[in-house]
Subunit: 109 residues, 2 copies
DNA sequence: TATAATTATCGTAATATTGCAATAAAAATA
DNA sequence: TATTTTTATTGCAATATTACGATAATTATA
């Protein structure tokens, strides 16, 4: 049916999945890396650097903004995108915490 | 057009995205957590615990196996799934490394 | 060997995602 | 005000994902 049954999962499981889903596209990884490298980017810079059409980049930026990992500052006709440091740390902690579960000696095969 | 242009991204960017994409569904997070909690699970256990149909669980297991984070050991008619500890650590390191980029003082807004 | 138990695969329907051209929107500038 | 610059939105086509019923495949058991 194409629609994820979010209601049968915990809030935490949905939260981890939502974050991972947004990170699950190379363009969005590339956007984050470029913003970090350049400290901040306008949409047009990312279009040039990454090589996808402007509406496509804009769409990816919106998804990154949806989870709060970036924020955009309107400067005239331009929008200056940068990392939201607090949210970045929060997301890093959520993923780090997930992977810090003790799995030692739990192999069966 | 619905198809990701992987060829314009680096191997590393595609690798991070591929991993995150697989983690980007709550059922797969739930499966990993259940396998860890129970040390190992057969498919039927996960069907009962999670509440999705058997073919759906089987499909999610395949995607988790594709990135190597779990492995399955055939035991008679059953398949015993567990975490691949090495790959788990590898994936954790890839994500940790991504989030360890220095973003301090890089806000523009 | 026939049946039961368990998992994988196939086929399909519904929905989501990706990408882009066209265009709208908004602010700066001539 | 008209034009330019820049980004967001809309609409669409192509493909991917999610979910499940039906069924195949495989091994254990009666």
């Amino acid at each position: 049916m194409g629609v994820t049954k979010s209601e049968i999962f915990s809030e935490s499981q949905n939260q981890i999945a939502t974050i991972a889903k947004v990170l699950g596209h190379p363009a969005r990884i590339a956007i984050l890396q470029q913003i970090i490298k350049a400290k901040s980017c306008i949409c047009g810079d990312l279009v040039t650097e990454i090589g996808l059409a402007q509406p496509t980049i804009s769409q990816h930026l919106r998804e990154l903004k949806n989870i709060g990992i970036i924020k955009g500052d309107i400067e005239g006709t331009r929008v200056c995108y940068c990392i939201d440091e607090d949210k970045w740390g929060e997301i890093r902690d959520i993923l780090t915490n997930f992977f810090q579960q003790d799995i030692c000696g739990k192999e069966c095969c």
